[in-house]
């Protein structure tokens, strides 16, 4: 690991060196921020606050063409995924989410689409100096400057960015812009530490998950599931905006004789998700579906992959139309244990 310094005066130049390389950065669209490609002459400003739409669609697009074919023919053409990309300004929680989801897409059988996209992307993280109101990453093993999953971490030190390389991919990127960088002195490292600890102090929400993964099975029939899900609308906001939610549907779509098989995000909060063709639904109400969402994140995933499938980014809380709050649900779960 090496630590370099980029003076903010050189930011446009830094960006200029990367824009030719399929650079993506957070962009405000209306009032909602999401990752978008950076145009040639554009210089993105990295602002406080995380994107509303998580960057999971970079490695797990909402709609992914699996293969194309002609109706009546049996030749299946897979997409060529080969363009490398740089994701600039991804937050540590979202990078950590990718590490968590990697486990699913690589257990037993490799998922070629996801893993290829993961291989092609370089993650340039930005440490959080102003955590959001509903951030609780520190409760789940992350933090405002956690490097898990990142190739390079940038820390905003006011008039400069501290760049910490974490992986060979990160080093490769730094070497391409090396003439813009200077070695960071210990003073700057100290500044970073101070900033990180201040940032941690600003995180107000927390989840005490000790005992929850083991305890959830015992709460299967607990009345809390009914009460926490009573107001749920059954929409997909919480799961679609969750950086670790990864469930998908597969559908064939045709236009004339051109056809493709594609997969798209799906949500366990939808009634149709588990509905059998016979009309039977093993999760018939929002109670069962909410229980599944929490269990999947805090119990099943832990059982299978030894990690909680929640990074504490707070998006599901920020955007639930009816204020269903996972921190509050987990508090009730803890209480019921």
């Amino acid at each position: 690991m090496s630590a370099m310094l980029l003076n903010k005066e050189k930011w446009p130049e830094f960006i200029g060196k990367l824009t030719g390389k399929n650079l993506w950065a957070p962009k405000l669209e209306g009032e909602a921020m999401r990752f978008a490609p950076v145009a040639e002459d554009e210089v993105p400003e990295l602002t406080d606050g995380n994107t509303r739409i998580p960057p999971k669609n970079i490695v797990f697009p909402q709609t992914e063409t699996m293969y194309r074919f002609q109706l009546g023919d049996f030749e299946m053409k897979e997409p060529e995924l080969k363009e490398e990309m740089i994701l600039l300004g991804i937050r540590p929680c979202d990078a950590r989410a990718m590490v968590i989801v990697d486990k699913l897409f690589s257990w037993d059988v490799d998922d070629p689409y996801y893993l290829k996209r993961r291989e092609l992307v370089t993650l340039v993280g930005l440490a959080c100096s102003e955590p959001g109101l509903n951030c609780f990453c520190t409760s789940l093993g992350g933090g405002p400057a956690s490097t898990e999953g990142l190739d390079l971490l940038m820390v905003d030190l006011g008039d400069s960015y501290l760049l910490e390389t974490i992986t060979p991919k990160g080093e490769a990127l730094v070497s391409e812009v090396s003439e813009l960088l200077i070695e960071a002195d210990t003073e700057k490292i100290k500044m970073k530490k101070k900033m990180v600890s201040e940032s941690e102090g600003k995180i107000k929400r927390s989840v005490d998950h000790k005992g929850i993964p083991e305890g959830l099975p015992g709460l299967w029939e607990d009345p809390l599931w009914k009460s926490v899900s009573a107001s749920c609308l059954g929409c997909g906001t919480c799961t679609y905006l969750c950086p670790t939610c990864h469930c998908f549907d597969i559908q064939d779509e045709t236009e004339g004789f051109e056809a493709r098989r594609c997969r798209m995000w799906d949500s366990c909060m939808f009634e149709e998700y588990t509905l059998h063709t016979s009309g039977h639904n093993p999760r018939p109400t929002r109670r069962e579906r909410t229980r599944n969402r929490i269990n999947h994140k805090y119990n099943y995933y832990v059982d299978k992959f030894d990690v909680i499938a929640c990074v504490g980014c707070g998006r599901c809380i920020n955007l639930c139309p009816v204020n269903i709050d996972i921190v509050e649900i987990l508090r009730q779960v803890k209480e019921a244990l």
């Binding site: 109706l71 060529e80 059988v109 490799d110 998922d111 689409y113 998700y273 093993p282 099943y300 059982d303």
Partner: protein, 281 residues
């Protein structure tokens, strides 16, 4: 893309088709053979496994492979006409192409059951995953103490694989007990529900493995009655079904509790199943 993409199906040709049952939700059986010789020889499924079968441009469905590998280098699927994909599959006739990928899931541990008496308890289309076990035991007759089959359906017209039972009831050590819900003219077998039939037969739990598959309500009462007969949880096996999309433990559709039915199932012993919270949902 990587050379091996698990989502890409193989093409197979439908060799023979026939209807097992009639009605709106009729069951049609397809005997299919892979077009590629390497695929044909390398394909290796075990009794109880499933495959994703489908048609390009329509979609895929997870269907039990209803033949035993001992029967030859072909596959059989017995498909009930239900939704979009199965309706389209029902249009296929000999010579048509079907897409197949798999085999998926675990299987009945038939080779761990050598020397044992096998009892299958099936209802309706639930006989499809049991049939490979029956065929496997028949092909390896000397390795098993014997096989008893209980199979029931609403009416005689709803029974699958009808032609195959006569020969079975004649051979030594294999017995077949058929039942339908309501008496019909000319029906020479039992009348009554499958769980009751099981009680009446009163099989000994000693050195016996039971496999049951059928409608959830039947399974529930069969399990109850098996307990009455003194069967231990470890002696009882069944299969689960859920909606599936990928077949390889990624899409998240099929989880029952923490289990992916497509990977950790579809075969579960009751000893495992009873602790899976959503297993009987």
């Amino acid at each position: 893309m990587t050379a091996e993409n698990p989502y890409i199906p193989y093409t197979a040709t439908v060799e023979e088709t026939w209807y097992e049952t009639g009605g709106d939700r009729c069951i049609k059986t397809f005997k299919v053979v892979f077009d590629d010789e390497d695929v044909r020889t390398n394909w290796n499924h075990r009794p109880g496994q499933c495959a994703m079968i489908g048609i390009l441009g329509v979609g895929e469905s997870m269907i039990s492979i209803s033949c035993s590998p001992t029967e030859g280098e072909f596959l059989r699927f017995s498909v009930m006409k239900m939704g979009k994909v199965t309706q389209a599959l029902h249009q296929l006739e000999p010579g048509d192409k079907m897409m197949v990928r798999g085999p998926y899931g675990n299987s009945f541990p038939v080779d761990d059951w050598h020397g044992k008496q096998i009892l299958t308890v099936g209802g309706g289309v639930g006989q499809a995953p049991l049939r490979p076990v029956v065929e496997y035991v028949k092909a390896n007759r000397d390795k098993y103490a014997g096989l008893t089959m209980i199979y029931g359906a609403r009416t005689s017209g709803d029974l699958c694989f009808k032609g195959e039972f006569e020969e079975m009831s004649k051979s030594d050590g294999l017995s077949c007990h058929l039942t339908i819900d309501v008496e019909e003219e000319g029906w020479g077998h039992n009348v009554g529900f499958v769980p009751q039939m099981l009680l009446d037969l009163n099989p000994s739990p000693e050195d016996t493995i039971v496999i049951t598959c059928g409608p959830p309500i039947m399974i529930r009462f069969v399990l109850e009655n098996l307990k009455k007969l003194g069967f231990a949880d470890e002696q009882i096996y069944t299969t689960l079904e859920n909606r599936m999309k990928c077949g390889i433990g990624k899409c998240g559709r099929c989880n029952a509790g923490g289990m992916y039915v497509c990977k950790d199932g579809p075969v579960f012993s009751y000893a495992v199943l009873k602790d899976i919270p959503e297993a009987f949902a």
